[in-house]
Amino acid sequence: MTREGDYSRLRHLLLRRELSCHEVVSSCLRRIEQSPLHAFVSVAPELALRRARTQDAAIARGKVGALTGLVLGVKDNIHVRGWKTTCASRHLRDYVAPFHASVVSRLLRHGAIILGKTNMDEFAMGSSGESSFFGPTRNPHCLERVPGGSSSGSAAAVAAHEVIAALGSDTGGSVRQPASFCGLVGLRPTYGRVSRYGLVAFASSLDQIGPLTRSVADCALLLRVIAGHDPRDATTRRVPVPDFCQELDRGIQGVRLGRPREYFQPPLDAEVGCAVDRTLAQLEAQGAVVQEMSLPLTRYAVAAYYVTCTAEASSNLARFDGMRLGERIQCHDLDGTYVASRSHGFGQEVRRRLLLGCFVLSAGYYQAYYQKAQQVRALLAQDFARAFQTVDCIVTPTAPTTAFRLEERTQDPLTMYLSDVYTVPASLCGLPAISVPCGKDGKGLPIGLQVIGRPFAESMVLRVARAVENAVGQQ
């Protein structure tokens, strides 16, 4: 028995007109209103309701798009024209996006209804949602815990049924880790699969937009709509976009799954490891072939990742200087104005990363840090390429632990950075990776299992994720 996507079930109701888009949006709005989560930075009730009515009229006329009536949250670093894009930063709290992100245009064209912009770590820098200028988001499974980050609001909103699905952005794990913490499906597509046009860049060579959903089917559906070459983003690739939904149920008979031992060592929480292994056993029962394997360079990934992403961030965020962008704190001279504006506008975590990034790019240190990180990155990619000669997908835990407590790690950035240890390797190598729920720990907190695939092999990754979903449904 396979699980139908939340949206597909809703879609049947909408098309049979047993339910209207207007009702769906209204009920989402009610939930948001009563929500203790702080998943949203801004909500656009009137616009969403108006759009819902338009969609209902379209359904009445028999005009139905692939995503008609799909109520969506969009992370607040992705542009929706005419709406604020704050990146959860003081610097951009009043910035209104003058254009749609390419993904947003595509979603709207297919009938999606955007309900609001979701909370996040400031400029997507964080793994807990706590660096938001607007305050943290809470985990719907336990309000004292973080939802993960940086797509904290997107994950919390979907998990709490405040929206049907949401867009996040994944730089080092910012879709997958919150998906894991909130019990959702979260996909990071292959680098170059989805356009970044209209996504406020954090680390350009790592950023990818990805969906957060409650089912693999919905994930596949959203990916199909947002994937594809975009002439506005030179890093998107002209690779055919298959119908991911069609291929979901081809099963995993004979599919070779690698279990890299480096991902099952400390700091891995024992309960998480057990859950992943239990699921692997079930996948074997479904016909998959599980192979022990090694990715020996994994331990260098976090360092290489933080050097790379801080370097690129220091460059990408240079434009928020109080001249045209960001809040200006006028001083007696130009340099003073720059320093004051930037110090004022950015929060602590962002400032820390910008300073790190400037340092690793500065003359005399570039070779030792940035260039070295790129060498590690290249070697890591070789590691993966070698592995993919003998396996079709690699299965790991998504994060070493389940959701941690609010403020537990804010004073200890290194521990915080280590929560990305299993997600950054795929990011550095541009590989598609998905987090899918594989059970809960003793406290009832969701555990995520990560499937990493070959470049542009999202179909395979989704198939395995679907198998996990089926297996867990039987647990």
Partner: protein, 493 residues
């Protein structure tokens, strides 16, 4: 210049490419639009916008690289160069640092009648920054306005080796580079609009010393005159220092073309760390062998080579040949007309004179000159044959332009040249009409020959070349007398 010191000069020339749109977006590059009207999210560096390379700009840069014989990096890439300034909205400039498009190569230029060469270190593509406006009537005190129209306009930065040894040499080189980029059709070369901007690195060394490590940087040399004066002033300053036994300090100077002097810029720049790293928004550039081959085949003859060929092939004076190659399209026009007419001297005078003058009056380039080469050739053919005087030809050309009647049509409507029979008939009529004078001619008053010629030409109404009429006239006068009235003729003259 002091005999015991040699200036050592290297140049960085920014060539603004004349593509219709910017390097990474589709905004217009047109000069002179109202401030901040030719901008979009990409060139404004708005968050979420991404650059996409303009292939045309790459092609223009490749043309220049190939013309200079540079080695093309077919896998070159872009880098980001960081600094904070209000006219740089992204906080970085997209340029090429580690993997420039072109390395090496050289450019020949002429000075004092000899050909010299400058080696090139590199040439790379980059985007221009905006323009900060400090000193204009409408700008308040302590106020700076920023115009971002220029932001993202494509530039090629050409960096020479320090091979230039006098201000005059530097000027001659830049003048030649200007001709080359204009001939390649990649830059309009209008220095007053900033289409070609120079920075110079200057040092002096004793005649037998190796080159000095320490040099000064001169910025803002935006006309050949500024280049000449600034370099001369800086070379003199450095020689004076050296003669007083002092060291030249590394500093950056700008040329103030109003005050006519060098001004030291704030030396905070030395602390600059541009934090270069590869531009992650642009994949590495791939340049196919096929494309390169095509561009190489399509390269035009370069101005200096062409000048020398024109001098040799058409025996033109150097000044005229230079005029022909200085204006893009002019030499092509000349060669086409000369090929049809012959008489390169005549054609050259016309092309460098009347054609340039009229194009200037009409405000069009030679390529847009309203009279096709083949038509001008018809006109000049008649001048060459003497059917039209220079003056008459000019009148015809100007009339045609002012009335709008095509010159070709005007010429076609002119009666065809007289046949020898018609000429003979006209001459016979003249001689009959002036029997008395003919008699006097035969008595030895030879200057009457020209009177007869004039009369015959008048009768022919310009339809016959004077030379032909004269020849026939002489022949007829030498032949048997029409009436055989007297036998005392001396015969032919």
């Amino acid at each position: 210049m002091h005999a015991s010191f040699v200036p050592v000069i290297g140049l960085e020339v920014h060539v603004q490419l004349s593509t219709a749109s910017k390097l990474f977006c589709r905004c217009s590059t047109a000069f002179g639009a109202p401030a901040n009207t030719q901008v979009c999210p990409v060139c404004l560096g708005l968050p979420g916008a991404l650059p996409v390379l303009n292939r045309r700009a790459l092609e223009f840069a490749l043309r220049l690289g190939l013309a200079m014989g540079a080695e093309i990096d077919t896998h070159c890439r872009f880098d980001r160069k960081h600094y904070f300034y209000p006219d740089l909205p992204k906080g970085y400039q997209i340029t090429q640092y580690e993997r420039p498009l072109c390395r090496g190569g050289s450019l020949e230029f002429e000075m004092d009648g000899t050909v010299r060469a400058v080696r090139l270190r590199r040439a790379h593509l980059e985007e221009d920054a905006g323009r900060s406006v400090h000193a204009e009537a409408y700008v308040g005190q302590d106020e700076t306005l920023v115009d971002l129209n220029r932001c993202g306009v494509p530039l090629v930065e050409v960096v020479t080796e320090p091979d230039l040894h006098s201000p005059q040499e530097a000027v001659s080189f830049v003048a030649e580079l200007r001709r080359v980029v204009r001939a390649l059709g990649i830059c309009d070369g209008q220095m007053e609009r900033g289409s070609l901007r120079c920075d110079a690195n200057v040092s002096v060394r004793g005649v037998h010393e190796p080159a000095d490590e320490v040099h000064t940087e001169l910025k803002n040399l935006n006309s050949l005159r500024s280049l000449q004066h600034a370099l001369a002033a800086e070379v003199k300053r450095q020689i004076d220092l050296r003669q007083q036994g002092e060291q030249v300090a590394h500093e950056t100077l700008a040329w103030d073309s109003v005050q006519h002097q060098l001004v030291a810029l704030r030396e905070k720049e030395s602390a600059h760390d541009y934090r270069y790293f590869p531009e992650p928004d642009l994949p590495p550039v791939r340049i196919s062998k096929r494309w390169l081959g095509r561009l190489r085949r399509e390269l035009p003859e370069l101005p200096l080579a062409r000048k020398r060929r024109l001098q040799r092939l058409y025996a033109l004076p150097g000044v005229r040949a230079q005029m022909l190659v200085d204006e893009p399209g002019l030499a092509d026009y000349f060669e086409e007309v000369a090929g049809l007419v012959g008489s390169p001297g005549l054609v050259c005078n016309w092309v460098t004179g009347e054609v340039v003058r009229i194009a200037g009056e009409l405000g069009v380039s030679v390529a847009e000159f309203p009279v096709a080469a083949s038509v001008l050739a018809q006109l000049l053919m008649r001048v060459k044959e003497g059917l039209l005087s220079d003056y008459e030809a000019r009148q015809l050309l100007r009339n045609s332009l002012s009335t709008g009647r095509p010159l070709g049509q005007v010429l076609a409507e002119q009666r065809p040249p007289a046949t020898p029979q018609e000429v003979a008939k006209a001459i016979a009529e003249v001689l009959t009409e002036h029997e008395e004078l003919l008699a006097r001619f035969r008595q030895g008053k030879e200057e009457l020959l020209h009177f007869f010629l004039g009369q015959a030409l008048k009768r022919l109404g310009g339809k016959a070349p004077p030379r032909q009429v004269m020849a026939q006239l002489r022949e007829m006068l030498a032949g048997p007398e029409p009436r055989a009235a007297s036998g005392d003729s001396e015969g032919s003259a």
